[in-house]
Amino acid sequence: MSNLKSVFKNRKAFIPFVVADDPDFDTTVANVVALANNGADIVEIGIPFSDPVADGPVIQAADLRAFENDVTPTKIFAMVAEIRKQTAIPIVFLTYLNIVFKYGYDAFCQKCQALQIDGLVIPDMPYESRTDLAPFADKYNIDLIPLITPTSGHRIEKIAQAATGFIYVVSSLGITGQRDSFDEKLTDLVTEINKYTTIPTAIGFGIHTPEQAQHMATIADGAIIGSAIVDIVAQYKQDAPTHLAAYAQTMRQALDNATEKV
């Protein structure tokens, strides 16, 4: 088990997401460092996969930009090694199971431990299918961050009880324009999760604005911001670090406001 859980102790967690090697190696390093220095609590780094079935067009486009740079897991490990020279911020990888499978479960987890990667978020590895990877994650103290969605229903209990690190709560089924109508159910969902575990929760999928992040932080223990960050990187490319720093500060403030309210 990693130290991820302790991150949530003192404040609402701001968890930004970047796609590795978008727009390039050095900017990815600088982006993560900028986020770390401006209020992020955990940074999620996406390892691109050719067929990201759980991702929308914004992240798919970022994956394609990364592939133009010939991104590989090995290259991303080198990126994290650079990042580690500048910050000790907790990092988790988000990727698809085939990437980890092909690298080798043991070798991948070992590499993660060496680089102080605390967890893995793998959207196509549901609870039942974690049994092959779990022994290696345990061996190297890597948390397998589970996802719980509005459709999880009776599955919440077993997923929550087995969770370590934090729980990634998926805010919606991904239909744009329906986000507001999920709010009430989202509170119920997190309440349900909390019945079975003391592991913190962070809400992700579709959170863009500081107001939304603040609202989510009144429901859960943190907010995961993906596409909004990837959009900034896409727009500003090599100049992204300064823009991400400013954005991170705004988000930090919003989340701290949520804490004061509670």
Partner: protein, 401 residues
Amino acid sequence: MKNSIKLDKNGYYGEFGGKYIPETLMNELEKIDQAYHHLKTDPKFQEELTDLLRNYANRPSLLYYAKNMTDDLGGAQIYLKREDLNHTGAHKINNVLGQALVAKHLGKTRLIAETGAGQHGVATATVAALLGMSCEVFMGKEDTDRQRLNVYRMELLGAKVHSVTSGSMVLKDAVNATMQEWASRVDDTFYLMGSAVGPYPFPEMVHDFQSVISKETKIQLAAQKHQLPDMVVACVGGGSNAIGSFADFIDDPTVQLVGAEAAGRGIDTKDTAATIELGSTGIFHGMKSIFLQDENGQINPVYSISAGLDYPGVGPEHSALAKANRAQYVGITDDEAVNAFEYIAKQEGIIAAIESCHAVAYVQKIAPKMRKDQIIVCTLSGRGDKDVSSVLKYKGVDLDV
């Protein structure tokens, strides 16, 4: 049991299969699992399905003795299992009727499906029309371009066709898009998977619904020749007609099972879709199986003249059959398939789907090497009207249809 080919309770055939899809869909998958395993042994459901197969889909399909081919090739006796004569012109209808009834029992009102060549899309649109359900079909842009008639057929049947422009714009990308659509709307929607791929229990359902092919073959051949075939040949993309053709013979060790994969421009080129010959174990599209992928686990873009075989993976049961050496899988090039397309048309007066012609091409190679008392059953999975213009184009003639 590493080399097991039998389905276990967790949905694996040996090491292949399982459920590798986003949590959003897991609850839904459980419901399908429960509903299907209830219906599988429900006589009323089976009766309903059998009635539709017989009176709507035109089953049983013929087992036709191809005398001209047999004489011309001079070896084994060749029998053609005529799935091309089914309503909608392909084997796809067998599976679609079954799954649509499952969907109906689950209270679904909307069917979504991926399609490569368009046959599965047409079959799904057909059944949606029959059962009064709405239907949306996802098809790679490459395929909507090369199979325009099938796009129109689906629209005629009341379906909405989405042209998928992500990735390499073929079958794999259509599957991605359909999965995304399913994840965003599960309540009223059933993903009618067209091939023997995807998360458990889809490979099992497709196996069961397509196994009507081999069950009939066994009975028909016994009636005509009082024996089992020596070899069964079928083309393999995801592998639905092949698993259906093999199913009832898997436990008959004297029956050789051969799957013809699409080698495209050749297995020594990048333009190929010969998954089992060239691929390696991976996890994608909900299953652990064999995929064409690079050393980092990125799925390869694949190529075949045949839109229906243009897929970088294969169903988990085929991977298990290959691993256990129970079935052999051979690559057939575009050239060989096109040659077979013309050959079977001229010999037997049958215009067969370019997919099926991959199997015919293997028969052309192997029949002369076999004894005259031996029997090959070759499944013609679909009819080839849809392929006429793309075969002409392949030969350098541009027919504007």
